[in-house]
């Protein structure tokens, strides 16, 4: 296959994702309600309880809204990636996955492209969220919006690959409620999304270490630092590493027969 053929395929998958996004734009906007509720309601309630001292990348005292905004960007991607991965192997996307897998191009390329395409739509949602957050006085530097792009894309790939891995291999988690309880919530709450880790350390060293081992923590920190135009090689490096490892595992280990792609009943007659 030539490079041009890979390119046409890459573009075709992206275009299809955007066309679907446009068809389902009401869902896109309604999915924004969740992070905005966190930002407006939860943060307002907790602002009084949680004092945030000056910690990098911030160089002054910040509001709690400002603190949790990067975590909520991560949350948007987390929900979308898990939902997207589940729909790839269990429901809405089954037809398109059948067509996808009939392509002569290598499966890892097809799957990573698909995950990236879903990630792009997530990113559009993140940017819209950041725009609304700006109206609510969460104001990162202007260039931060551009600098955060690679971190957002990597986070999308990392979480999309994790979702695909889980959806393919853990049968017990084939519905969204299961994934929410056993993946999304633990990843979100055991991270630096809602509270700085030094606070967690004060509360429980155990929990602190669990947070440290949670790749979502590092993705959120990569987003946070980039958004404020600071370079956090550790957070970024860990996010890159985990994204690559998960993408390799999820795509190389992908088995259509472990999904409902072949037939909606799981096993064909």
């Amino acid at each position: 296959m030539t490079l041009a053929q890979y390119w046409h395929c890459f573009v075709g998958i992206q275009v299809r994702e955007w066309l679907r996004f446009w068809q389902q734009r009401t869902r896109f906007f309604s999915a924004l309600v969740r992070p905005l509720l966190w930002l407006v309601v939860f943060a307002a309630g907790f602002r009084a309880v949680l004092g945030v001292s000056i910690i990098p990348p911030y160089d002054t005292y910040i509001t709690y809204e400002t603190y949790i905004a990067p975590g909520l960007c991560g949350m948007i991607i987390l929900f979308n990636s898990m939902q997207g991965a589940l729909s790839m192997v269990y429901d809405r996307e089954l037809g398109s996955m059948r067509v996808l897998l009939m392509s002569p191009l290598p499966r890892p390329f097809l799957l990573v492209t698909k995950l990236l395409a879903m990630g792009m739509v997530s990113m559009a949602q993140v940017y819209l969220f950041l725009l609304i957050a700006r109206l609510l006085d969460v104001e990162p530097p202007d260039w931060g919006y551009l600098a955060v792009l690679p971190a957002l894309l990597l986070t999308s790939l990392m979480l999309g690959a994790l979702g695909l891995l889980i959806a393919t291999w853990i049968k017990q988690l084939e519905n969204f409620a299961g994934v929410m309880n056993f993946v999304i919530f633990p990843m979100f709450f055991l991270s630096s999304a809602l509270y700085p880790l030094w606070r967690m350390k004060e509360a429980s060293p155990w929990l602190y270490w669990i947070c440290q081992f949670n790749p979502f923590t590092h993705a959120v920190e990569a987003i946070r630092f980039a958004l404020y135009l600071q370079w956090n090689p550790q957070a970024f490096g860990i996010t890159v590493l985990v994204a690559v490892v998960l993408a390799v595992l999820a795509t190389a280990g992908f088995r259509p027969q472990r999904t409902r792609i072949l037939s909606s009943g799981g096993k064909a007659g």
């Binding site: 030539t2 275009v15 068809q23 037809g95 009939m102 027969q257 064909a268």
Partner: protein, 242 residues
């Protein structure tokens, strides 16, 4: 486009679904894969399309192993699945373009080939309608048109008439036979409906994972001492008339 299956066996867990199935498909001919529900037809299609990994045996396309040359094989195979594989919210044309892109075709080439297929399948007027607005027969035609976009030599159809009314079923069957002649296309049409098979078709009868007969319909009937395919099928499988 010749195709050969050699000693294919497959099992889900400990349950065997295909047992030492061997056959060849002759270039440019219509082949009917006949079997009751649960015979193993979809599993065979899963293996031929690489959605299932081969366990034992070998599949050869023009003498090349599907296992060793998967990309080359997928370029040569067009598939129509039993379940709908169209994006219902996208238009007919958008669905075709997506498929074309997956096969590495440029937008220009996709448009050219798409227009040709739309015309051939009498779908030009519906080209910009969302698939959701099409009836079952039209949707199936879109799926076949799509499967032919990359100009494969072998077309696999897994119970393509499922859910269609009698008129649409006959129309679709006739249409594919015409394609077979016009394009020198090798076709494997899986069905459990005997009325979709003609006496001079090459017929493969699959039952409980075993290939019970392989040959021209008329010859299989003669071998079994029967006068028609329905009775032959019944005699071989013990199934009722479909």
């Amino acid at each position: 486009m010749s195709f050969e299956a050699r000693q294919i066996s497959f099992q889900y867990g400990s349950k065997p679904v295909l047992k030492e199935v061997s056959f060849t498909l002759a270039s440019g001919r219509f082949h009917a894969l006949l079997g009751p529900n649960g015979a193993g037809k979809s599993t065979l299609f899963g293996l031929m399309t690489r959605l299932l990994a081969l366990q034992t045996g070998e599949l050869l396309l023009n003498g090349q192993s599907l296992r060793k040359q998967p990309a080359e094989a997928m370029r040569q195979i067009g598939v129509v699945f039993q379940q709908n594989a169209l994006d219902l919210d996208l238009t007919v044309r958008q669905n075709l373009y997506y498929h074309a892109a997956l096969h590495g075709l440029s937008r220009k080439e996709a448009r050219k080939r798409g227009d040709l297929e739309l015309e051939r399948f009498a779908l030009v007027e519906r080209a910009n309608d969302p698939v959701r607005q099409l009836n079952g027969g039209h949707r199936r035609r879109v799926e076949i048109a799509r499967a032919l976009l990359h100009q494969p030599g072998l077309l696999l159809l897994d119970e393509p008439t499922a859910g269609l009314d009698v008129g649409s079923r006959a129309g679709l069957n006739e249409h594919v036979r015409r394609l077979c002649e016009e394009d020198d296309l090798t076709v494997l049409w899986a069905t459990h409906l005997i009325e979709e098979v003609q006496p001079d078709d090459r017929v493969l009868i699959l039952h409980q994972g075993r290939l019970l007969a392989d040959g021209e319909g008329r010859a299989i009937c003669a071998d079994q001492g029967q006068t028609n395919l329905a009775d032959t099928f019944h005699a071989l499988t013990g199934a009722g008339h479909s």
